[in-house]
Amino acid sequence: MKTCLVVDDSRVIRKVARRILEALGFQVAEAGDGADALNACRAEMPDAILLDWHMPVMSGPEFLRRLRREPGGADPRVIFCSAETELARIREALDDGADEFIMKPFDAEIVVGKLVAAGVA
């Protein structure tokens, strides 16, 4: 079973994402910020990460930069999931190592499409 870590400071978003991902057969773990997410990845690297941008303690972009320097940190497919819609910022995220980008609000169809595009579903 593939694993996905959902990183978002909103419990509601984590819950919605979990429901969509579990319906797709993923085993889902959750983290409320980038620091928690980094600890979770050090314990067990997931196949995919659904990552919010703006979070307390450690932002999504900061988490991504640190993740990619971790042993095995190049492996997970990282899909940003953010209210950010500025293409310049999305380009930055891709340049920093993100595989895909979802602009909130999202639905199951968009998540599935992006997981497929990222090569993880």
Partner: protein, 267 residues
């Protein structure tokens, strides 16, 4: 909307555009007509239908028919089909061929723009892209190349989004260079298109299922008539043309059909 009104609209759409509306699901028809009724200042769909019957105003008739035509479209629907087509076009263009592609029933343009993006990414020049739709409103949207956040997340990768689009006002605007690559025209596929010239590739994807059976043969006949010898018709991945059209599937390419060589020679 009464059953009588529903049947009137269904008959109108069948006569004008060959559409086979699903009369078992009248709420879908009503939903689409509600937008037209609002736009045209009618208090209800019933009022709109009464005006259609009594006024016989062509502009209003077409507004209703166009609204009932299939509208769903997305970028890179069946991505592997587009990759294969772009590869074939690239190979032919590199041999020096001047190629022409027609996206028939192009909707809001996502299909023809998907091809335009691929050709741009591969640096392929010399492919003429032509697109048509029954709906004037959808053609206007296509030509403007302006898409919502939801639309650009259907089938379009983030890398393609940042490469080919700019931020608009609560929207995303396709690169003007790509928009300029496509020529547009309003066309009713039920009528023969005699002045378009011949095409190497005609795309008409996921339309046949929305047509009345009697219209399918006529529409496909018009599309086939626009093919150059050796040209191909591309339907939806699980669609097939009516048997009477005499097309043969191309091996290994779902939804792609051509006129068999023997038939071409005889013609």
């Amino acid at each position: 909307m009464t059953p009588r009104e529903r049947d009137y609209v269904a008959a109108l759409c069948a006569a004008r555009a060959g559409l086979g509306l699903d009369v078992e699901r009248p709420y879908l028809i009503e939903n689409r007509l509600a937008a037209v009724a609002r736009r045209e200042g009618f208090g209800s769909v019933s009022e709109l239908v009464r005006a259609l019957r009594e006024r016989g105003e062509e502009r209003l008739v077409w507004a209703a028919v166009e609204a009932c035509a299939p509208a769903h479209s997305s970028f890179f629907r069946d991505a592997e089909v587009f990759e294969a087509l772009a590869g074939e076009l690239q190979a032919a263009a590199e041999q020096g061929a001047a190629l022409r592609v027609w996206s028939a029933a192009c909707g809001a343009g996502q299909e023809v723009y998907s091809l335009a993006m691929l050709l741009d990414e591969r640096g392929v020049e010399g492919v003429e892209l032509f697109a048509s739709d029954l709906s004037e409103r959808r053609l206007e949207k296509a030509q403007a190349g302006i898409y919502s956040q939801f639309e650009v997340q259907q089938g379009l990768s983030a890398r393609r989004l940042v490469r080919h689009f700019a931020n608009g006002e609560d929207s995303f605007v396709l690169d003007p260079e790509l928009r300029r690559r496509v020529r547009w025209r309003r066309l009713n596929l039920l009528e023969p298109a005699t002045d378009l010239g011949a095409f190497d590739l005609v795309l008409c994807r996921y339309l046949l299922g929305a047509l009345a059976p009697s219209a399918r043969e006529r529409v496909v006949g018009h599309l086939v008539a626009a093919l150059r010898p050796g040209g191909r018709l591309v339907l939806g991945a699980e669609e097939a043309p009516p048997r009477a059209c005499g097309l043969a599937p191309v091996a290994g390419a779902a939804g792609v059909f051509e006129i068999p060589a023997g038939v071409r020679a005889a013609a």
